[in-house]
Symmetry: C2
Subunit: 386 residues, 2 copies
């Protein structure tokens, strides 16, 4: 049996952003030795790991060099060199989630085809090898406005997704492989974090509700639990379990879904890692999502996923017109509100809409938590010093 | 107004043991820059701080050199050079808890005299400048067996305290300043963590119950809340608030108390820092004790101290007859029990009775939590590899 704790065992993490940083609270808590690689020499995960290296995560040689040093390799971001993961697996390094799982997810066109092939309900779509091919279909009247355009690769935080209402909107899009999706008429967007360990045991977290900022398309609030009927929540958790089983992933799978006007649930997209929609779990759940990810990839028993109490998460993003050394204006005021815990990601520089942190509001009453969340949102401002 | 988060502000922490290590989870969470000094170059806090130095905490020059680099200085252990703290205060460094507070606590004889002078109920006692002076009183029949002997300085984790039943027991005691206390006939030992910020605002955590191992005199279980009448709990919290006000400390004050057979509450001793009896708060409370300590010493608003759910903490200490590279035997089994979260301190070497970690058991039913705690205790063993 492998001894993971206070031992010579080495866990590698590709990516050293805020997700990696928060995972390190739990590797420290369990005293698991960690190696981290990130292109940014001042990445949030730089301290609190045992060993840090800089390196491009898409660079085959760097990922190989880095991965060969560790016993188990995981990642906190999908944009890593998959060929290197495959070759590391072949050389005996345990890679979780596997290269095969990442291959099904990294490219959004492939991900959508996977849903189709596995009878997982999702919005109707068409894939295109290039923007030109899409424009051709539009000019031939084969695509009806409005529709959703998604870049097949590289999208995150509301980037790489646009609602296209007219031919004019097409001009602003970048070139490259993409897909179109029907615009879903949904009541609400929901998400579920599923954990699956190496042995194949599965646990699902409660359904959360995501409220988006209509301007930036970024998540503004995440409510746990979602304000939906228990029967709908159960349906969503069953679907999440099905998706998890189909992917056969190891680690966390964050599944974003639409609840349609007809109370159908369809899968929007997934991420094979700890996720913004699971941050509520840090203070809200019996087992937080980062510890759960570690339990899953080390084949430890999965922890209890129910909530200690209800919660709302508020994302903290940089204000418009502010670039430079960050100041969290109003943070002392929000810390005086009951059950309010700020999480600061440690990025020294703010930029408009950059994810700089989040705030968890813990309260037995979800309505009260949602009210406090709005108060938090209007009080704290991520601005620059000068 | 001082900006503490993602800024140039520097918090210094004297001591880099497990308490410091756990405080660093919260300095990371809030992105507060930290400087840590500890004599051990492999101290648990070595990673996750921004800057680490080795140095003897009782060495005046080293504490001065270290302290001059920071804006606010705190400590995670009482055994630090108080003269240096005084001189750092005089030079403009904010030291919390203050040298004056530490002066009232560091020496147990002084601490007991402080209770007496401030009408704080405590067990009757006599102080002695040396063991010889105590032996003289014993030989002259001025002290009755049994009594409690305490070393005035340096005691912790059940060391520096003995129940003396006969003259023979005196032979095993070390020389030095000491005190004797009447043996209190108590129902149970309880404790309360009080937080007091720079502005003088106070919050008390719920009363916890401590169960000791009769052989080693170390705390085995901490239950939150204590299984006592609400009226008794309120009396204890009122006393804790009084003690806090008398000490005028800044930061946390952990107050250990006896609940006597007559339902009186008397103070045993205090520690001006996060404390073993507050570890339940990491998963159990709205605000964990380490974050609360930071809030207090940075004069931020104090966080909510109530519990999200009930909890029992189990201390993990090294097994007898085991010295060397540590192995946590049975840890995978306990992680399969509901609501069980291990905390490993990161000491590579185990020794008999060394504090190596703790386990929090979170459960809505305190009786159920206590049962699981016993199961945890009998399942996990801290042993050496060979």
């Amino acid at each position: 049996m492998t001894h993971y704790f206070s031992s010579d065992f080495k866990l590698g993490i590709l990516g050293g952003g805020q997700l990696g940083k928060m995972m390190l609270y739990d590797t420290r808590k369990l005293d698991i030795q960690t190696y981290v690689m990130d292109p940014n020499p001042e990445a949030p995960s730089k301290i609190a790991c045992n060993h840090f290296e800089t390196g491009d995560l898409m660079d085959y040689d760097r990922v190989m060099e880095f991965g060969k040093q560790v016993d188990v390799l995981t990642f906190e971001i999908e944009f890593v060199n998959v060929k290197a993961l495959e070759d590391l697996e072949a050389s005996g390094v345990k890679v979780y989630p596997s290269a095969a799982t990442l291959n099904k997810i990294q490219n959004k066109s492939v991900q959508k085809e996977f849903y189709k092939a596995n009878q997982i309900p999702t919005a109707d779509f068409t894939t295109y090898p290039s923007l030109e091919a899409l424009k051709k279909d539009v000019s031939e009247g084969k695509v009806k406005f409005p529709f959703v355009w998604k870049s097949s690769t590289g999208g995150y935080d509301g980037k790489g997704v646009s609602v296209i209402k007219s031919e004019k909107n097409l001009e602003a899009l970048p070139n490259g492989e993409c897909l179109t999706e029907e615009l879903v008429d949904f009541k609400t967007e929901i998400a579920i974090i599923v954990a699956r360990n190496v042995s194949g045991n599965i646990k699902t977290y409660p359904v959360v509700e995501m409220e988006f900022n209509p301007d930036t398309n970024q998540v503004e609030y995440v409510l746990c639990p979602a304000r939906i009927e228990p029967s709908i929540a159960e349906k969503a958790r069953n679907l999440a379990q099905l998706v998890s089983n189909r992917f056969e992933h190891v680690g966390l799978l964050a599944i974003e879904m639409f609840l349609t006007q007809d109370d159908d649930i369809i899968v929007n997209e997934v991420a094979p890692r700890p996720h913004n929609s699971g941050h509520f779990s840090i203070e809200g759940s019996y087992t937080n999502q980062f510890e759960q990810h570690l339990r899953a990839i080390l084949d430890l028993p999965l922890g209890e996923t129910s909530s200690k109490t209800n919660s709302v998460m508020v994302n903290l993003v940089g204000e418009e017109n502010h670039t430079g050394d960050v100041v969290y204006q109003g943070i002392q005021t929000i810390m005086d509100m009951p059950g309010v815990i700020p999480h600061i990601y440690g990025k020294k520089q703010t930029r408009p809409f950059r994810k700089m942190g989040h705030v968890n509001i813990i309260h037995s009453d979800i309505k009260e938590a949602r009210k406090i969340a709005e108060h938090v949102k209007s009080t704290i401002k991520v601005i620059s010093k000068h």
